[in-house]
Amino acid sequence: MSEIKVNTMAEMLAKGEFPEILFWVGCSGSFDDRAKKITKAIVRILDHVKIKFAILGSEEGCTGDPAKRAGNEFLFQMQAMQNISVLNGYEIKKIVTGCPHCFNTLKNEYPALGGKYEVVHHTQLVQQLIDEGKLKVQGGEFKGKKIVFHDPCYLGRANDVYEAPREVIKKLDVELAEMKRSRAKGLCCGAGGAQMFKESEKGTKEVNVERAEEALALDPDVIAVACPFCNTMMTDGVKHFNKEEKTKVLDIAELIVKANDL
């Protein structure tokens, strides 16, 4: 993304500047080819509204979320304290994340270890920008299309954020469809709890297939997600039913960017 200059904290400080907000990219957003597109979409939004932001670059490390959910509290705390010393060293106050797992861990589990920040998920930031009139959005190519939103567990049930993503989607002039299992009753995509990194136990079905089946039953044009891991699982689920031509899996940040040519 050569047209937009993305500063690291180190680069910004070298220029004698300080960001309004730190963009916590996360491992998926940094390394996974599909998730990098979401990262870039978030950057385009931040750049478009002229928020001064920075990333940590090579100074960022896994928040420790998958280690903690898998029971490895040692590794979690090692990662957390390493990250906290970097964040506190830069005197970071506000963080936006592209991943609900990073969001949850930074927001809820870092304070007990000395890391206290204002943490928002990117869908919350986008909603706020729209509400404040800083970001004007149109439906663009999605106008009138049917979009179904899949709640990420660590944004929804874990942190009670159900409305921000929906409010943003509604601004696109689309038909927002709801699965029967949504909001507090939302069904997991199958990735959480470190399942992303292992084969599932013996059973009759994969969780992502169960969830994709439910979403596809509504025959949507887009399954909107707000988590890079949900994105992977739902994309695989849609492929399982050979529906990838009809139904796209897109992050809310990508919807905003595509609809408004940011």
């Binding site: 491992c27 998958p66 280690a67 509290e73 270890l113 874990a158 292992k198 969830r211």
Partner: protein, 435 residues
């Protein structure tokens, strides 16, 4: 007179037996680790009033919610009538509270309507389990005793309500005949419907029916009370303290282990002061019920095995072995076993070579969890199966190094590369310069 004596003996016996079992349950709950929950008293009270008293989490499944309200309200209010039965039982009076006049008549009529509601509720509950076969009542963990337990409670409640109605029907006939002992009192909107069908019976038979049903009802209630400590039905009492001591934090926040912080923190802060006693090292995570917190154990005793958790579990609905309800049932079963072991050994637990992890809950179940919090969200009385699952994982990882190989790989990657995959940390910002 003899009736009064028998009644008093039964009352004292039933109360004493219940008290001794209640004490045992309290003792068993505090086998768990002690951590005080004394904060946010008013918020806790509010949670208890909303969730336990007000049944606010039941409503997400409206059919069972409405039926449960019938049974719950009926059960609580009809117990007011038990007060009168106590007075009648002790003094030998008949309908001792009838001096309340028209208010009494209203109450008795109201109780009859409630009793009808309870009866309808438990009949439909029984049908849902045994005829309609609602999916969440079919899981393997309910085979045997748990299924018998559920049906026994429902049938007992049917019998108790039938006894109440029959008693009132016989009483009405005796009142109409001007029997001296059965003075006119009460209002019978339900039993009045079939009271006339008993009108052909002799006074003696009617008195027998009335007395038999009275005794059946009161003895049934004593028996029911003393069945509770052995049954899943204990939730009618424990739902209240269990919701009061709910986790009030957002669900996403898992506990922080101070014992781990004490090991990790000095690497980052040489002046760090340990939070736990270094001379009293604790086990990381949970292997057996003694390692759990007392609230986890109260959760286990409070569970009524409704299975809302299991029916919303993504892993269970896709055929995996994990069932959050089974986690709670196993925890209780093991706790009862440990408690009985202590009773046999003068209050001290003697190692029986068994543990919650392994003998009750397998690592296959523990590793299947998505930590999605659906089970926690669903529980109508704020039980947290996920807290137990995470503690079992902690033990497997930190004490046993027995995590699945792929997860070990993920741990190694985070440790060496700062990411769960094998990428160089130096490349983390490469996306910035990619098209």
């Amino acid at each position: 007179m003899i009736g009064s004596v028998i009644f008093c003996i039964l009352l004292i016996g039933a109360s004493a037996f219940f008290y001794s079992n209640a004490k045992k349950i309290r003792r068993n709950i505090f086998i768990g680790k002690d951590f005080p929950i004394t904060d946010h008293k008013s918020e806790r009270l509010k949670t208890m009033i909303m969730v336990a008293l007000g049944q606010s989490k039941m409503i997400t499944r409206p059919v069972s919610a409405i039926l449960h309200i019938f049974v719950y309200v009926g059960f609580v209010l009809i117990n007011v009538e038990i007060l009168e039965m106590f007075v009648d039982g002790i003094t030998g009076a008949h309908r001792a509270f009838s001096f309340l006049g028209s208010f009494y008549n209203f109450l008795i009529g109201f109780f009859e309507l409630l009793a009808l509601g309870v009866f309808i509720g438990v009949v439909v509950f029984w049908l849902r389990r045994n005829v309609v076969k609602v999916k969440r009542f079919l899981n393997a963990e309910l085979n045997g005793w748990p299924r018998f337990d559920a049906n026994a409670i429902l049938i007992t409640e049917m019998v108790l309500m039938t006894a109440l109605m029959l008693m009132n029907a016989a009483d009405q006939n005796l009142q109409l005949r001007g029997n001296e002992h059965y003075h006119v009192a009460g209002n019978f909107p339900v039993s009045g419907f079939f009271a006339s069908s008993l009108s052909g019976l002799s006074d003696g038979t009617l008195i027998f029916i009335e007395r038999f049903c009275w005794w059946l009802h009161i003895v049934g209630i004593f028996a029911f009370l003393n069945y509770l400590p052995y049954s899943k039905h204990l939730h009618i009492l424990l739902a209240f303290p269990n919701t009061y001591f709910s986790n009030l934090k957002v669900k996403g926040e898992f506990t922080t282990l101070d014992s781990v912080t004490d090991v990790v923190a000095p690497n980052f802060d040489p002046s760090y002061q340990p939070k736990t006693d270094p001379n009293n090292p604790v086990r990381f995570g949970v292997r057996d019920v003694q390692d759990l917190g007392w609230k986890n154990l109260m959760d286990a005793y409070s569970c009524t095995e409704c299975g809302r958790c299991t029916s919303s579990c993504p892993q269970n609905m896709t055929g995996k072995k994990l069932s959050p309800r089974k986690i709670m049932m196993d925890t209780r079963d093991r706790l009862v076993e440990v408690g009985n072991n202590m009773d046999r050994n003068k209050g001290v637990f003697v190692d029986d070579g068994k543990s919650l992890l392994g003998d009750y809950i397998s690592s296959e179940e523990v590793w299947a969890c998505n930590t999605c919090h659906a089970c926690v969200q669903e529980c109508p009385i704020n039980i947290d199966p996920l807290a137990i699952i995470i503690e079992l994982r902690r033990y497997l990882v930190m004490e046993q190094s027995q995590s699945p190989a792929e997860l070990n790989g993920m741990f190694t990657n985070i440790e060496n590369n700062g990411a769960p995959w094998q990428f160089s940390p130096a490349d983390r910002g490469n996306w910035v310069n990619e098209s």
